[in-house]
Symmetry: C2
Subunit: 343 residues, 2 copies
């Protein structure tokens, strides 16, 4: 019999909470038999919303949390003070082993800070990166790091490359994933100080498939599977990806609606267009894992609908079943041992 | 009578040289009467190509330069060694006052290095930024800096903001341009060390219209007119902008061509789509000026066609007629004086 994976879900986080979050949880337990979901948040609100669904009562339970952390609060302060918030209560469930993973569409800052403060890092991990999957022409790539800790050191980036490779290989199923570092030119001597110092370290890492630098223009074409950068640059890439994608699609819609002829054209091409643009849809990939913690934390978009929540919950199962954290710990231990042995 | 502006053009630079470069020069002199173009490069090749056009022989002249700098050479070395390359010869024309400006679609590194080494900086300018115009839903914004000098200091970014404001106001015609710094959140306390140190300096600069931080997702919507960042981040934004734009348009074309129905739809909506997507076309804005030099240097895309070359030449006229360099020098002088007075 398969092991049951328990996932704590922040029922109060994000723009579409609790409605879409709860719908996503119901969809996930309907999809896979070995999932149990703990919905964390205001019990009365959740119970009322759940009333509209048919589901296995033993596989979705509620744990009450009266407080809520908003996007406008200082994340660290909020985590320390709001002990009864859905984020803090859920993270404690993971810490205490009552849940294997936590999924939230709430405040990114609070989820990142809480993950580190409450669950803590795997031994050997210097900094836990937030690693969203971004859609490309060729499929999808992992962009690591997009977290809140900026001004990274070269050793952080090397760990990101290793953790990202393990994730892409085992959760997303990309064999021997190609790792590249974001740079402003293809040559080894190009880049800022951080990139110049990190490049030879990545080149000498025998346990990753390092292919060199990647220029930002090649990211949408899927030129690498694991795209390594520090969090400031990662954030810029992630947000420009989202912003430019929707700006261009707005412009195209405007164009298609501008004349009678183009409106008829739009009607005829609508379903075909929808199909190809689906490849650039974020929600199918689920949320971004915060890697390197002693438990899994997944941050989904603030505007997540049920489908993204469902996919994020299912992603936790793959993560847990493939023992990603054990693999990360072993990998970093090997690396430390090698350094000690002077290899 | 209007003053004649003389522009040295690198006839050998870029993927489409010399054909498209020479066509662009001819278009520019046909468009405006007070332009004189010096085509720099292999005289026989240029003369042969020019033979196909009707033009005012006194307003397009050729200066021979037998060597060519490629993208694969070290820029600084190439500038020092290839004294008879089109880039070095043309930059010397600007240095000696025989040309007011230089336009090149050749090696970005060589143009940037040569601009600084041969023409030199305006007094007071710490670092000359490369500042391309990027298209947005609302029009266009100046992205400053996208050059080759990474790891900038806060004082550099403050100068970029000032120079960028002068350019947008006087060349592009945006009154009181809104200046923002690229950041990973809207709050003043967010960001990496460089942004945190620069933010209060920009806030206290009374001669610019600083509106605070801009997140990358808001750039395509035109949320600021002058977008300040250091060159590594600027390069990532610029290249992702180009790469993602063309990747999405490829996907849309694929969608439109995927079924018979959608092909008919595409035929009907083609001209309307073309019209709206034109707003996202780079070539209409001309090239990127390298600001803060004692002469104007404009770098156009490596794949520039005649239209972009033409627009880049015309842009030099606006730059020169509006005395941008005098304005930059005055502005920085005022700023230094104020610092000395302790203001």
């Amino acid at each position: 019999m398969q092991k049951t994976i328990t996932i704590a879900v922040d029922a109060m986080g994000g723009d579409n909470a609790p409605k879409e979050i709860i719908k996503g949880a119901v969809l996930a337990v309907q999809e896979k038999r070995n999932i149990k979901v703990i919905l964390v948040g205001k019990e009365a609100v959740i119970r009322n919303e759940l009333g509209g669904y048919e589901y296995d009562k033993e596989r979705i339970v509620i744990i009450n949390a009266e407080e809520n952390i908003t996007n406008n609060e200082s994340p660290v302060m909020a985590i320390r003070r709001k002990k009864n918030s859905s984020i803090v209560v859920a993270l404690n469930l993971v810490k205490n082993g009552e849940a294997d993973a936590f999924v939230s569409a709430g405040s990114t800052g609070a989820v990142l800070a809480g993950g580190q403060l409450i669950i803590g890092r795997i031994k050997g991990v210097e900094r836990p990166p937030l690693a969203p999957i971004i859609p490309t022409i060729a499929g999808a790539s992992l962009l690591i790091d997009c977290g809140a800790n900026v001004d990274a050191r070269p050793s952080h980036l090397v760990q990101f490359a290793k953790m990202g490779s393990i994730y892409m290989e085992n959760v997303v199923g990309v064999k021997n994933p190609r790792v590249a570092i974001v740079n402003i030119g293809a040559e080894e001597e190009k880049g800022n100080n951080l990139v110049k110092e990190t490049f030879p370290l990545l080149k000498n890492s025998t346990d990753i498939n390092f292919i060199g630098s990647i220029e930002a223009r090649d990211i949408p074409y899927g030129a690498a599977d694991v795209i390594v950068c520090e969090a400031f640059v990662g954030n810029v890439i992630l947000k420009l990806y989202e912003g430019l994608g929707s700006a261009l699609i707005d412009k195209i819609k405007e164009g298609l609606m501008s004349t009678t002829k183009s409106k008829i054209g739009a009607l005829l091409s609508k379903s075909a267009l929808k199909n190809t643009l689906k490849a650039f849809d974020y929600s199918q990939y689920g949320g971004a894992p915060l890697l390197g913690l002693k438990g899994l934390v997944v941050k989904t978009h603030g505007n997540s609908k049920s489908n993204e929540i469902r996919n994020s919950i299912l992603q936790c199962v793959a993560f847990s079943e493939n023992k990603i954290n054990e693999k990360i710990e072993d990998n970093l231990k090997d690396y430390e041992n090698n350094i000690k042995k002077g290899e």
